[in-house]
Amino acid sequence: MNVAGEIEGVPIEDTFAEAFGMRATRLVITAETRAWARHAAVSATGFATSVIGCGCEAGIERELTARETPDGRPGVAILIFAMSSKDLQKHLERRAGQCVLTCPTTAAFNGVPKEIAHEWLQLGGALRYFGDGWQISKLIGGKRYWRIPVMDGEFVCEEKAGLVKGIGGGNFLILAADGDSARGAAERAVAAMRKVRNVILPFPGGVVRSGSKVGSKYKALIASTNDAYCPTLVGLTRSALPEGTGAVLEIVIDGLDAASIAQAMDVGIRAACHGGTDAGVVGITAGNYGGKLGPHHFHLKALFA
Amino acid sequence: MLTRLSGARIVDPAHGTQQDVRDLYVRDGRMVDRPRDGERIDRTWDAAGTIVMAGAIDLHTHIGGGKVNIARGLLPELGRQHSLAATDVCGACTIGPAPSTLATGYRYAAMGYTACFEPAMLPVNARQAHMEMGDTPIVDKGAYAMLGNDDFLLRLLADGANRAEIRDYVAWTLHATQAIGIKVVNAGGISAFKFNQRSLDVDEAHVHYGITPRTILRELARAVHDLGVPHPLHVHSSNLGVPGNVDSTLATIDAAEGLPIHLTHLQFHSYGTEGDRKFSSAAARIAEKVNASPNVSVDVGQILFGQTVTASGDSMLQCRNSRHGRPPKWVVMDIECDAGCGVVPFRYRDRDFVNALQWAIGLELFLMIRDPWRVFLTTDHPNGGPFTSYPHLIKLLMDRSFRNGVLASINPEAAAMSALGSLEREYSLHEIAIMTRAAPARILGLEDQGHLGPGAAANIVVYEPHPDPEVMFATPRWVFKDGELVAERGEVKTVICGAIHTVKPDFDRGIERKLKGWFEQHHTQSLSSFKIDDEEVCECGRAPRLAVHACRARTA
């Protein structure tokens, strides 16, 4: 391991996380109560860990107070990422349609400011057809909304949602002495990273154990287990694990911009390293493909800049 | 008064001349061969370097009758946007999608047209049609009376009337309405619509009278032919604008059984149902049939992109097509046991698949029908576009690279489905002169129009050659009507009144006995107030003269 520096005594490898361009949008879901807004948000961001198997990646960005939402009700901001505008349109439409429109009292608003919107996706513009001709379009404060009659009143939905050029695949790996230490470090990292805006951690609990590499011996698969980091394969493969590593967990970050991802990685790594080697953290590294896959490189040595 | 026009190249297909340079002489509004011995030439127009043709003739343009006036009343917001200010000789008027009669006369004349024919004069509306034409200055006028949906004729046919009776009725109509020809619009269909029949194919029976369009077409074509009316039955076929109407159009040609017929606005009747959108060009099939049928002449009814308004007697199809209209307001009328009408504004868009293909189909017809004596330049004004776009249309016909340039800019799917890009033909000046002058005069029986030989009306158009035919045809240097200079470089110089052209075939006036009873039983006016005599038509039509053209009866 080529060490770039240490945080609380934990060696940080001089490598980089390699990330790639994605298309992203932010949706603000509100409801009469925080609970119903959460139900919709959780549902809408479910089963969205990786574009490979889910088509999109989504997560809750943060919860919003009544003062922060367009309609003065409690809300949740979610981010959705996909590989193309077309994919994003499809998944936005499905998730908003199946998980927000269906949920009592909710409304859906675009969460992307006009200034940064690269293009516009149809939100209410696509969902309105559920109204079967009874839907009403309404221009309010310069924005167009759709009012779709539903059984508890009307589902109010902004016509369009902004699309930004986001980044997917920011990551770092926590190398630990054992599973307990790895999980403890990861949970500390996730808790810290949740406070960062413009990012989501799409995997369950923000953490992924099945780090992957490109390709497989099986032709049908485009990715497979990252054998170099699997402790149970030490001795069988060309392992990348330093001695004493008993478990590795990865945190993947999708963000609306590079700075937010870098910031999330910064606070995440520092939180993971909190307690130093005594807490069982052996090292921190990041996943890349030699720079061939993505244009965005997050160098871990930036932590010491 | 003797005038000489000197040094021009003369394009006069009726006399076979191909751009001979020679002098033309006009005495008292007529062409003469040469001055009499010792006769003084009062005025010489130096036309050296110019191209001269006879005044153009539009044999199918909706310039008179209630339909266009309804269109004007329907679209005042468009009319008022296209104001023409008064000049020293012209009155203030407008030239919107349905132009005023004043603007119509001014613009036709300025473009070198000296005679225009209203193709759909409802007999009950004939007075108003003649009045509107009378307020269309400068150009000569004439009209075709619509038959084939009037209850009197349908009853005659349903009762198995003999041909002599039908012939007499047709002739009586020509006299009573002061028409020069007979038109049939969606034979039987306008009437069937009054009985809530919403479509009628060539061999489908009229729900009330039990007769088919084929019968109506055949009997009218026969009557017009036997009476010796020069212009063949003018036919607006069944199923206007309906995808797949190629079959009914071909059936319509067959229904004539070899008798002369003229198929009008053929573009709207040349549609197939191929392709994903079930709409395709059937121009090739139609052209092949027309090429092989010497009894058939056609005009195209080219569409041009932009806002226009369609005004047709075909209430059945206009009601059906009203859903495509823009702006979405329209009028349909049932008229007086006589016919009907429908007025639907249209905005043809080059990015629209159907509109783009319609545009291409029209041009395909122009280019695939070989004989310029049998295909005429029309936009079915205002239905396919305004007559003011004729110079542009001429350019599309004469200039292949220009045409292909436009083709490349229209809806690509439509462009890909059209054979237009592969058609290499370019019309020559000679052919343009045939289709806009010599041929319409011949097919209408206008002996003294459409050519520059001795005895012809001195309708002379002097063009300055220009590499762009659109420029050349839009603003001729001089336009003479009956020897008078009426327009110069697009500007009207003198406003005169044109003649009315009619035919008056012989017939047995005994038919009036039957008609009188019919009028008393069913109509809300008397037979005598229905008829328009020569004096009245000249008053209504402000005509200095009634030009009655000869009919040579072919009755067996």
Binding site: - | N69, R72, G79, R80, G91, A92, E336, H523, Q525
Partner: protein, 413 residues
């Protein structure tokens, strides 16, 4: 006494089956009479040799024309109103309007516009007299004055030779009118007052389209009657809705006309249905038709500034006079006998029917021939398609409108 065939121009029906006895100037309808033709012919028949007047005093036509030229020359913003004239008269009116930059409007412009407005902002499906007479199996008559305004409508169109059809009357009709309806017809009477007409017409639309309305008793009409009416409308093979815009005399009545036009369009989707707005009286259709074809835009219009413009708000005669924009009024009237609206202080030249005596002295008054009486003329019939020639009935009499105006134009140079 000589009997002459005549065509009556005193309402939009233009009945051409009249026989009139002409005795010197006196006129008497012998066949085809109605209240309107009798009244008009009696009035015109009592006039012998009417003369032009200048400031109320008899004058020669020559002097009257000279005085008129003076008025028009001095005017910068003239209005031409009235316009109950024949086609030739209207052609001359427009030639004059172009020459002097006038605003032109028909006296009944606000009435006519109730229908025209709907044509322009909705469209319409209409029919004509003979179609209605021969084909209609249901006729819905809206309003309470059509029988007075078009006295022979029942005889000539609604019930010639005992045609069987259903009739619905929408308006409170007096018993005398009810008696004129065909005796064996199936009649449904909806006795709504005029004020209830907008609501009833909208309700009929809703019922015909089977919207979930709950028709309560509406403007005196029971829900059952409304429902029955809707059923009849839907069951018709060829239904016709008839009204006279002059009856619908309340502000914004054009909205109700649009509701009627919409009803027709909806019904026409499945069966045949058409509107038959009764009009054409006082040559309103004639004036509008000639204006429309010559200029491309309808009345009211302005010929100011050497161009033509249409705007019912700016150029309606009433509005122009109310705003005090005009500085001379030329009133041209040959059929109705209507006098010009009083405009104190404004120079006023009046061409009128021979029997008209003005309350106040106009600058110039010139009697003109009434088409179909003292001159032949063409008028457009009330169903908008047929133009009839009204032959001249008697010799002598004042000159035709077109004659007077053409003389005037020649003098204006």
């Amino acid at each position: 006494m000589p009997l002459r065939g005549a065509t009556c121009g005193f309402c939009g029906l233009l009945c051409d089956d009249l026989e009139v006895e002409v005795d010197g100037a006196a006129l008497r309808v012998v066949r085809g009479a109605c209240a309107r033709s009798e009244a008009a012919l009696a009035a015109l028949g009592a006039v012998v040799d009417p003369v032009p007047r200048i400031a109320g005093k008899p004058a020669s036509l020559d002097a009257a024309l000279a005085a008129t030229v003076e008025v028009l020359r001095a005017a910068r913003r003239p209005v031409i109103g009235g316009l109950d004239v024949d086609v030739a008269g209207m052609r001359s009116v427009l030639a004059l309007a172009r020459r002097i930059g006038a605003v032109v409007d028909h006296a009944g412009g606000s009435i006519k516009y109730r229908n025209l407005h709907v044509l322009q902002e909705f469209g319409g499906i209409t029919t004509t007299f003979a179609e209605a007479r021969n084909r209609a199996d249901l006729v819905l008559l809206v309003g309470d004055g059509w029988w007075r305004r078009f006295p022979r409508f029942v005889e000539r169109i609604l019930a010639p030779n005992g045609t069987e059809r259903r009739i619905v009357t929408l308006s409170a009709l007096d018993p005398a009118t009810r008696l004129t309806l065909p005796k064996d017809a199936d009649v449904l009477a909806l006795d709504a007052p005029l004020t209830g007409m907008p609501a009833v017409c909208s309700m009929l639309n809703a019922l015909v389209e089977e919207r979930p309305v709950k028709p309560a008793r509406l403007a005196g009409v029971t829900p059952q009657a409304l429902q029955r009416c809707a059923e009849w409308l839907r069951a018709a093979q060829y239904g016709v809705i008839v009204w006279s815009a002059a009856d619908l005399d309340w502000p914004h009545a054009e909205l109700t006309v649009q509701a009627i036009a919409r009803l027709v369009r909806t019904l026409n989707g499945t069966t045949r249905f058409a509107a038959l707005p009764l009009a054409g009286s006082d040559a309103d259709l004639t004036a509008n038709a000639v204006q429309t074809w010559q200029s491309g835009v309808p009345l009211p219009a302005s010929y100011a500034n050497r161009s033509v413009d249409f705007d019912p708000n700016r150029y309606a005669l009433r509005n122009v006079l109310a705003r005090g924009e005009a500085d001379a009024l030329l009133w041209v009237s040959s059929l109705s006998g209507a006098a010009p609206p009083p405009v104190p202080g404004m120079p006023c030249v009046v061409l009128t029917r021979a029997d008209v005596e003005l309350d106040t002295a106009a600058n110039v008054q010139i009697p003109v021939a009434t088409p179909g009486i003292d001159a032949a003329g063409h008028l457009l019939r009330g169903d908008k398609v047929i133009t009839l020639r009204l032959p001249r009935l008697r010799e002598g009499g004042p000159p035709a409108v077109s004659t007077v105006l053409d003389l005037l134009l020649a003098r204006l140079g």
